[in-house]
């Protein structure tokens, strides 16, 4: 932004590559220099990833984690979006329910684990429940904000054209609130991805989170630990990216400030 010289196109690739290469080198040499026997170097991690892929363990874990996120997040969307829309549209109802939500929201889904285990036992369903909890509140809040921020012109225009309240909701409020709802969904998906990893470390025995704990416990395979961490980061990035593509759709793009 301060650049009086505009970076050229090739620089978009050169700089990140240079920075990543430097960091990798730093990593590699600090491992060497500190003489640690446990912490992996970049090479070790790469070999570890290849090993995971070869033994087909990795795909199963990735699928498991994604599946849990899919179900938990999907449930949060299906319940949270309508609820958020209603709360946003009827401030009176929102005023009653909101304090309860504000108290429940800061409780980490992880703190719910013992309760989840009681209800669902150790396994898939507990993890899905935790993911649902983690995604639910951001989604509801985003929907409430989205609806209450719809400029009143749109509401009035809708009424002017003779729309009944349900039609108003579906044809005006929902599309108008959609950009903000999408942002909330994207953030909630990010949270869901965080929660699934944490939940798998504690409450289930498959998935990427479990892979991390297991690799360490059964043999101190820190190369696999770090490999798993990087894979988690990468998948999270892909999910986030996918959502941002949605935000670029023309019927929603109007709601986002143009990135200069």
């Amino acid at each position: 932004m301060n650049s009086l010289s505009e970076p050229s196109r090739w620089e978009r690739f050169v700089w990140p590559i240079a920075a990543s290469a430097t960091l990798l080198a730093l990593w590699h040499y600090s491992v060497l220099w500190s003489g640690t026997k446990v912490f992996p170097s970049p090479y070790d991690v790469e070999k570890g990833m290849a090993e995971l892929l070869k033994h087909h363990v990795l795909w199963g874990d990735i699928v498991d984690s994604l599946r849990r996120v899919g179900v938990g997040f999907g449930a949060a969307v299906m319940i949270g979006v309508p609820l958020g829309l209603v709360l946003g549209w009827y401030p009176a109802i929102n005023q009653v329910v909101n304090p309860t939500m504000q108290i429940l929201r800061p409780i980490s889904p992880i703190a719910w684990i013992p309760v989840a285990i009681i209800f669902f036992g150790v396994g898939d369903r507990a993890a899905i429940f935790l993911i649902f909890l983690g995604a639910f509140f951001p989604i509801v809040v985003a929907c409430i904000n989205g609806v209450s921020n719809v400029p009143s012109v749109f509401r009035r225009a809708g009424r002017n054209f003779g729309l009944t309240p349900p039609q108003l909701l579906a044809r005006v409020l929902l599309p108008a609130a959609l950009p903000q709802i999408l942002i909330g969904l994207r953030i909630a998906l990010g949270i869901a991805w965080l929660v699934v990893v944490a939940a798998e470390m504690i409450a289930v025995d498959s998935g990427l989170g479990f892979l991390i704990i297991d690799s360490r416990n059964s043999g101190k395979r820190y190369d696999l630990v770090v490999a798993a961490i990087l894979i988690i980061g990468f998948i999270g990035l892909v999910l986030d990216f996918g959502f941002r593509r949605l935000e670029k759709l023309r019927s929603v793009r109007w709601g986002f400030r143009s990135e200069s």
């Binding site: 012109v153 054209f161 109007w254």
Partner: protein, 262 residues
Amino acid sequence: MSLTQPVSAPAAVAMKLSVEHLGVVFGRDGKSTPVLDDINLEVSEGEFICLLGPSGCGKSTLLNIMAGFLSPTSGRVRVDGEPVRAPDPRRVFVFQERGVFPWLTVEGNIGFGLFKLPRAEREERIAHYIRMVGLEGFEKTYPHELSGGMKQRLEVARALAVNPDMLLLDEPFGALDSITRLIMRGELLRIWEAERKTIIFVTHDIDEAVQLADRVVVMSARPATIQRIVPIDIPHPRDISSPRYLELRDGIFQQIGLAHKL
């Protein structure tokens, strides 16, 4: 020559809208602010009326009440003899902050109010109004890709598409540059002459009012009352350097208390 008597409309032309002893008082934190005070007005069918006054004088409030978005504290508005209680597609409002829906294309916006029509008829109407406001070629464009003037034209097209009896426009050209404004005024008059809807147009621009209206309702600042109703008896197209135009305009200038020589 008295300019205070409204020129009586010929008996054959129907009374479209009447405002009777309208008053509006806003109350906030225990303080009540009178906004409109005993407004009386009669508008004939097919007339083009301008509500003229300084910003914040309550004319937008009056327009909103006519449309049915707000309720008056006292008095009432009647359209076709019936009191106005709620918004209705027969009285379409063209908004100041450009109320085109950003998530719909040009086609989508114009077709918005036409959901009760069969598909073929809807598409025909949309095409008709796109042509009328000169937006051909932009059917599938989204509002954020259009200029300010085009967005305004889109909004007018959307309003006209539902074939309303009345158009209520709230300073629609305020955000446009002066050249576009002149063009848009001409467009509006052209459309009005083609379809002869009753139009009530709010503005703070004296020239705009004198160029467009059959009668100019000059309003005072808060609490707003009708100072004077000035009939503009110049036929369209109006020559803005004709003596009659200048005479009427300067008369209003003086009425509002502004010298026309700076």
